[in-house]
Every structure is written in C-alpha cells, then in structure tokens.
C-alpha cells in the first residue's frame, strides 16, 4: 500500500546568523564570521520517512532537533533545500493545493484567527475546504461539543486560555476530515486533564482510518499514543520503529546512572564483568552509565565493586526501559537537556 507520508533525503538549510551563544569563538573565528554574512544552519540533514496509512506516527526529539521543520515541509509552510516530500500520491512541493486538501494541521503555537469566534473559525475553515453550509454547521456543532467548547463557542477566541485555543486548533484541523493530521507538540503546555482529552480524541480520529503524525519531546506522550516512532536529533533520524521495538533495542533495558568520588579504569572494567551488565559507559567527570538486564538488585554488587577499587558510590539513579534511555544511549544526552 502507498505511504500516507513519505520523504526522501529531505534537507533544509537556513541562511541565518548563528545563535550568539553557539560554540566557542576565537578572534580568527569572529573575523571569518564577519566575512560570511549569512552563516548556514542545517535544520534537516537527509530525513527519510515512510508512514503507512492509518498509523499514529511520532517524531520524538529535543527542541531544535528538526521536528517542526519536517512538519513545516510536509504542510507546505517550509520549502525544502533538497529532497522530496509526498502526502499520499501528491508531491507536496509540486502539487501544493492537492496536498493541502489531504491534510489538517495543528501548529506548535496557537495560530487562531483572533477576529473570529470559535464557531466562526470552524465554519470559515469548512468553507475554505468547500463544505456546504449545512455540513459546516453540523460538523462545527459536533466538534464544539466533542471538544467541550459549546459554552464559549460564540465568543472571540482572543480571550481563550492556552488549553482552549489548542482544542479549537485541533477541532479546526479536523473540520474538513483530512486523511492526514499533523500535530506539532499537541500536549505542550496543557493540563493533564486536557492532555488526556486530546489523546482520546486523537486515538478516535485514528480509529476512523486516518493517519496522524505528531511531534513531541515528551516520552510519555510518544509511548502512549504512537504506533511507530522516529527519534530525531540534529536533523537526522537516529532510530525508528514501534515504541516496544525501540525500547527492546536498548542494551539490557535498565539504565543505572552512577556517580562515584573518582573513576579509575579498574572500576569500569569491574562493572562490565558483573552479571547482567551489557554495556558500561563513562559519563561526565566521575559518572558511569550502566546498561543492564536488572536494576536495583545490581546495586550491592556495584557497591562491592567500587569498594574493591577503593572508591565510594555517591549517587545512583535507576531507570526502567524507556524511550528516554534510548535517546540517551544514542546521543549521550537526555531528551530534556
């Protein structure tokens, strides 16, 4: 079956000033920067995606990883530097209008029409997509009801809270019943109750056979909602698969983040020989990350090994198999960093 979303070697390079705090710069660097008036920032560096129809697909990564740029290209808002992007049978950048018919988009920041009420936003959106007035009115009514917005439906959205705006945005994106729904950080800044409502609505929409692509830096959201995931960092996909597959790919499963007073080489060797340990990595100045098939039961042996090397264990953090650990394993950084 054809993919609902497909990209091939998608690259996006922005011509912009580098961030002021970016990296170390000596005087030679500075003079070179002055000559290059527009340094380039590589936002996407060869992204290949295949999303099957009817899937909830997640793009998981930290801020600035390239998630929103990927969504921007797929939704005609950002022009790729090279590569191709397809929605169903349509090349997004050759046949924009046809691609736009198939998609609904919820942007990261609320971009509601502040001159209109919630109901009018839905009605006009339906009109842009050619729905007749009866269809528009019926769908708007159903969506306002579903999103618990009926009591404020005829007020200007200017005064709405962030959560309400997010609900109107999602209702608007669903108004023309698109085949593919894009949600850029749908849960960001929402209270737990609203987030659960959104998750339920997204799942229901998916059950109708619709494809959903969402971006998130929240592992819980990715784990709870997505059937397939791609983990993205620095404009590249570093791992892809179902959440279960991805978590199973972490060596050992458990991650023990240990900190010692000092870290002799003998300690690393000793920890690597403990039963169930699959990988040992130095972390920071005196830290060690241990990937293992068990968690808490390993601690007495860790303490003994440390004592044998003449060092003291000063801090322990045990995490169960998670996407966070997977990200850490691939990048050496936490998703939250």
């Amino acid at each position: 079956m054809d993919s609902a979303i497909r990209t091939r070697d998608l690259r996006k390079v922005y011509n912009a000033q580098p961030p002021a705090a970016a990296g170390r710069s000596d005087s030679q660097d500075q003079s070179r920067r002055k000559k290059e008036s527009k340094p380039q920032i590589i936002a996407l560096d060869g992204i290949d995606l295949d999303v099957a129809p009817g899937q909830i697909f997640g793009l998981l990564g930290p801020n600035g990883a390239g998630k929103s740029t990927t969504v921007g290209i797929l939704t005609t808002r950002v022009r790729p530097t090279s590569g191709t992007a397809w929605i169903g049978p349509h090349d997004v950048w050759r046949d924009q209008t046809a691609a736009k018919r198939l998609i609904g988009v919820v942007a990261q920041r609320p971009n509601l029409d502040f001159s209109l009420t919630a109901r009018e936003i839905l009605l006009f959106h339906g009109a842009y997509f050619g729905l007749n007035s009866q269809e528009r009115a019926e769908r708007a009514w159903v969506l306002l009801e579903r999103f618990k917005l009926t009591d404020r439906a005829d007020q200007l959205v200017r005064g709405f809270s962030g959560g309400m705006m997010q609900r109107v945005s999602l209702a608007r994106a669903m108004m023309h019943d698109p085949q593919v729904l894009f949600l850029d950080e749908p849960g960001a800044g929402l209270d737990p109750q609203t987030r659960l409502l959104l998750w339920e609505i997204i799942r229901d929409y998916n059950q109708k056979g619709r494809t959903v692509l969402l971006t998130t830096h929240n592992m819980e959201e990715a784990d709870a909602l997505c059937q397939q995931l791609a983990i993205i960092d620095h404009g590249k996909i570093i791992a892809a698969g179902s959440p279960r597959e991805l978590k199973a790919s972490i060596p050992g499963g458990f991650l023990l983040r240990l900190r010692f007073a000092e870290r002799p080489d003998s300690l690393i060797d000793g920890l690597g020989k403990l039963s169930g340990v699959t990988e040992v990595r130095p972390s920071g100045d005196t830290g060690v990350d241990v990937y293992a098939g068990r968690g808490g039961s390993l601690i007495p042996e860790v303490v003994n090994t440390a004592a044998g090397c003449g060092v003291e264990l000063s801090d322990v953090h045990i995490s169960e198999p998670s996407l966070e650990n997977l990200f850490l394993h691939h990048t050496g950084r936490s998703l939250r960093e």
Binding site: T75, T97, F114, L116, F124, F129
Partner: protein, 256 residues
C-alpha cells in the same frame, strides 16, 4: 484557481469588516470629512481661499481617502497576521494557491477603497454646496480611473504589509504615506507646481499624483490637468508593479 475557497476567503474578510464597521467608518471618513469641512467650507467661507477651491479639492480628498483606505485595509491586517500569532496560517493552508490568498486581500482592499472614494462625493457635496461644480462627462473613464486608483492602493497595501514589521508601522506612515499625500497633488493641481519645475517633475514618481489628477480630469475637467493617456498608463504601471512586488513579498513572508 479554487473559486469556492477564494469566495470563502472574501466572505471571511467581509465578515470581519462588518464586525468592525463603526471603527472602520470613523477611520475611513473622519479625516476626509474634517478636511473637506475646514478647507472647503471654513477657509473658503472666510475668504482665505477662492470658491473654486471647493471643486479643486474634492478629487484630491477622494484620492487620499481611497489610497489611505486601500493601504490600511490590506497592510494593517497582513502586518499583524504575519507576526507572532501567524493568524493567516489557516488561510495559507486552504486548498488554493497562496498567491490567490494575497490576491483576495487585494480584492477586499480594492472594494473598501472604492467604497471610501465613492462615499466622499455625496459627503462632500452635502458639506460644500453651493458652489461645488462637478462635471462628470465620461462615466466609463471615471469608473476606469477609480478602479485603477483603488487597485494601486490595495496592491500598495500588499507590498507594504509584507515588507514592514509591526514595530515600524509608525515609520511607514511618517516616511511613506505622509510624503505621498503632501506630494500627491491632492490639495493642489499638478499645474500649480509650474513655478517649482524640479518639484513638478519629482512628484511624478508618486502614484497618488496620477490618482488625484485622474479623478480631477474626470470629475472637474474645467481645471487643467496632466494628460489622460499619461495618467492611465502610469496608474496601470503602478498597479502591475505593486502587485508583482506585493506577491513576491507575500511569498517570502508566507513560506520560510
């Protein structure tokens, strides 16, 4: 082009304009009304200006009213909608080429500019009569010039609205619109500049000069004015130029 989507975009703008009708009326008509009253009525009535000034002034006021309204109606919403809130995003995602979203803004601005221009005539007639001498000899030509003037003001609004940031709106008014109005042959005919030959040439780069002179040529032909073919050619050229520049700027703003 997707006609249904285009009409829906136009309906959205009409709906918002209806909602803001009262402030819109004040914004459009208060200044020309006061101008007509002070210069056409008070200054002429007290003998500081000749009675014929009433007829001379009206086409200029009409041009200002149209140009100001057209630019305001297109530029101001665009400046706001392209800023942080990105309110225009939903319309950019409508199943229609984004150039048509810009053209729709121009059409909406053009309609508002036409209304603003045409309402000045009865309004001024009430304030200025007796003594106002309008001689509409060629209605087709008048309609053509009025459409071209409304067109360049709306296209100018598109070009400015997509080139100016929110923090520079004040600058846009003081650096672009104010000189345009004062050097636009609005309060005086172009022929009155014959004693200032350099200025007389200089004002010809200002599209408003052709707008005022064009309306003067069709409404009060008793006064000398620029040649009609020149006026028509210049207005057409400004319409096309500003539309092309406006569309280019719109694409730059809409797609990153």
């Amino acid at each position: 082009m997707n006609g249904k989507a285009f009409l829906a975009l136009l309906a959205r703008d009409a709906h918002v304009a209806r909602r803001n009708l009262i402030p819109l009326l004040f914004q459009t008509f208060l200044e020309p009304l006061l101008f007509v009253f002070i210069f056409g009525r008070v200054m002429v009535g007290s003998g500081y200006l000749p009675a014929t000034y009433k007829s001379l002034l009206l086409p200029g006021i009409m041009a200002i009213s149209m140009v100001f309204t057209g630019i305001w109606a297109v530029a101001m919403p665009l400046i706001g909608e392209f800023q942080f809130t990105r309110e225009i995003e939903d319309r950019l995602l409508a199943p229609i080429d984004i150039s048509w979203v810009a053209v729709e803004k121009v059409v909406a601005g053009l309609i508002q500019a036409l209304v603003a221009g045409l309402v000045v005539i009865p309004m001024a007639w009430i304030i200025l009569r007796p003594g106002l001498e309008l001689r509409l000899q060629n209605p087709a030509l008048f309609i053509c010039i009025t459409l071209l003037v409304a067109g360049f003001s709306a296209c100018g609004g598109l070009a400015l609205g997509c080139s100016v940031d929110q923090q520079h709106i004040g600058l846009m008014f003081s650096m672009v619109l104010t000189p345009m109005i004062f050097f636009g042959c609005t309060y005086y005919p172009w022929s009155a500049l014959s004693n200032f030959p350099i200025l007389q040439k200089f004002v010809l780069i200002n599209p408003l000069a052709y707008a005022s002179e064009g309306l003067r040529a069709t409404l009060v032909p008793q006064f000398p004015d620029l040649s009609l073919p020149l006026i028509l050619a210049a207005l057409t050229l400004f319409d096309i130029l500003l539309l092309v520049v406006g569309l280019r700027q719109f694409h730059k703003k809409a797609v990153s």
